[in-house]
Symmetry: C2
């Protein structure tokens, strides 16, 4: 006999990676209904063994102890889906993802290179796709950028076009409004020399993912690019003194950075992505210009907050991934994004 008011099943979530992004995803997950975090995995010695609530800075203990042993906690907790946030680079995360897949766990990752791995890592992507199909699970990497603002959204807008000649996407952020570690990461406050040195020693790496976004747009449009040109990470020099709460930038010093990537076809740049993050940006925006029939001029102003948006799109992708056919997917393969606002069970086809 069916119980009246029987609790609907809760979706079981594994948290893989409890760094700054993983923690913000976890805090968002704790607010959502119809799901529960069943385990948390991280390799950092200062996190392992602590209660998750302690690591992510929420109140009451959750009874979830951060573990560095996925091979133990995954079979013990049998998650439906893992939220994975450990590294930007596919080579660093490949074994983590395959282990999740082999345990029959669907994966949503923030790994920038995995958002569209078919260009730079064709074989790894094919392997992962086969493995996911074999185990009947779906793997997706997404985020605000790459994953949404500079690839998914421009692709969506081309749906309005009969012809497309060129696509130009810009994301401009005022770093003063972001986390202090982010301000440091983009070199704000450094002299030009210090910036160059940190670039050379790999302490400033720039934003990862522009190449992936270009490749995903081209693939969606059926464009076969001759090449993708990824520009150097360039310092943005302060023309007047600017400052955030944490950093003062004198005139002539580095306020942040600028990067770009271009997809070239028939000798012409047909996709151009420009990313700028610096202290003192007068206007923050995400803009998309499609030169086509019709032409489209679209702008989100102010630009979408990266940390809030990343946690959102990761959590909002959970039902899309659960409902999808098995395999390695990208955002262009899944139904249109949408927010998860009510009990997770409302969005699941099961």
């Amino acid at each position: 006999m069916k119980k009246e008011n029987a609790e609907p099943q809760k979706l079981k979530i594994a948290l893989y990676g409890v760094g700054s992004i993983g923690a913000s995803i976890a805090r968002l997950l704790l607010k959502k209904k119809g799901l529960e975090i069943v385990c948390a995995i991280d390799s950092a010695p200062n996190k392992v063994g602590r209660d998750l609530s302690d690591v992510i800075g929420t109140g009451e203990p959750l009874g979830i102890i951060v573990s560095n042993a996925p091979s133990e906690v995954l079979p013990a907790t049998k998650p439906d889906v893992a939220v994975h946030a450990t590294s930007s680079f596919l080579k660093n995360v490949f074994s983590q993802i395959t282990e999740l897949v082999e345990h029959g766990v669907n994966v949503i990752s923030t790994c920038e290179e995995l958002s569209y791995p078919h260009l730079s890592h064709r074989e790894l992507a094919a392997d992962l796709d086969r493995l996911a199909k074999k185990h009947g699970v779906t793997v997706l990497a997404t985020g605000i950028n790459p994953g949404f603002l500079m690839d998914t959204l421009p692709i969506v807008l081309t749906g309005l076009c009969q012809e497309v000649k060129q696509i130009h996407v810009e994301r401009v952020m005022d770093a003063a409004k972001r986390r202090i570690p982010f301000q440091k990461k983009i070199g704000a406050g450094l002299t030009l020399e210090e910036f160059k040195e940190k670039m050379e020693t790999g302490q400033i790496t720039g934003h990862v993912g522009l190449e992936q976004s270009v490749a995903m747009i081209a693939d969606a449009l059926g464009w076969r690019l001759q090449r993708i040109e990824v520009g150097e990470v360039e310092p943005v020099i302060a023309e007047t003194p600017v400052e955030s709460e944490a950093v003062k930038v004198t005139r002539g010093n580095v306020a942040g950075l600028s990067q770009s990537a271009r997809g070239v076809m028939n000798g012409k740049p047909v996709i151009t992505l420009v990313f700028k993050a610096y202290i003192g940006a007068k206007e923050e925006y995400d803009s998309i210009t499609i030169d086509g029939t019709p032409s489209i001029h679209e702008k989100i102003s102010p630009c979408v907050h990266g940390d809030l948006g990343t946690a959102a799109i990761i959590v909002n992708s959970i039902p899309k991934v659960i409902n999808a056919e098995p395999g390695l997917k990208t955002m262009k393969d899944l139904p249109i994004p949408s927010a998860v606002l009510e009990d997770m069970n409302r969005y699941l086809k099961r």
Copy 2:
């Protein structure tokens, strides 16, 4: 033995409805590669029996004679997909769509009510879904509005949000830049009295589809609305004289119209759509404001050209529909929209 340079198969398209929208879709189809129009269906006596090129105003005869007998031309030409553009109302098109489905033809329709039929026509929608599944075909209705700007796009943008309190969408068009029949349709140049009379006699009906867009957004977000309030079609009165090439509007007369619809939940409007089309609109735009975490302020300026965009999204939806599982779908069920720019075969999974 496989022929070298064998021609890839061409997708066979039926054109159902050769009015103004159907003709613009046909002209776009003729520019695309990897597909061919195999038949054209229309009931208008002044079109039946003429070559399609003659009806749609292109050059060389196409050898496709407009027919009013789908039961003859469909089995004879075996189209893969029909592009259907005959009426805004589901009751008018239902038998047309079911006939296509029963002949094993996938359908993409411009029928506004079919873009999200699950609210106003729950039973017809369920019947159509069953029938489509039985015959292994997919049915979709789409367009610029409903179908994209006031439903699909706001839904996509909620993918960036952790929470959503309210969604406000506006589409404002300067009717002076549109077709003259459109200017007449919205009552431009009439006195207020004439406008009211034409409203009463059904000569001005306003825009169909706001209700469908509200329902589709709510469904995508998992919101269970208490009700959808569809506002009256309101005249926009010219405050100063305005004119287009075809119509002069004196001060105090009707420049066009305005409509709105609201989705109400917990006693509050959570979705508001506003549509305005009038001569003399100072700014033309499509804007979306999401009050949430984060809030999103998005704008396409100028607004997307309705006729160009409608033909585009219909044609661009062809591979999505062919690749989809059988059944009655809405835009929220399909992978993200994208432009068809190269040979159709590049986009098909078959």
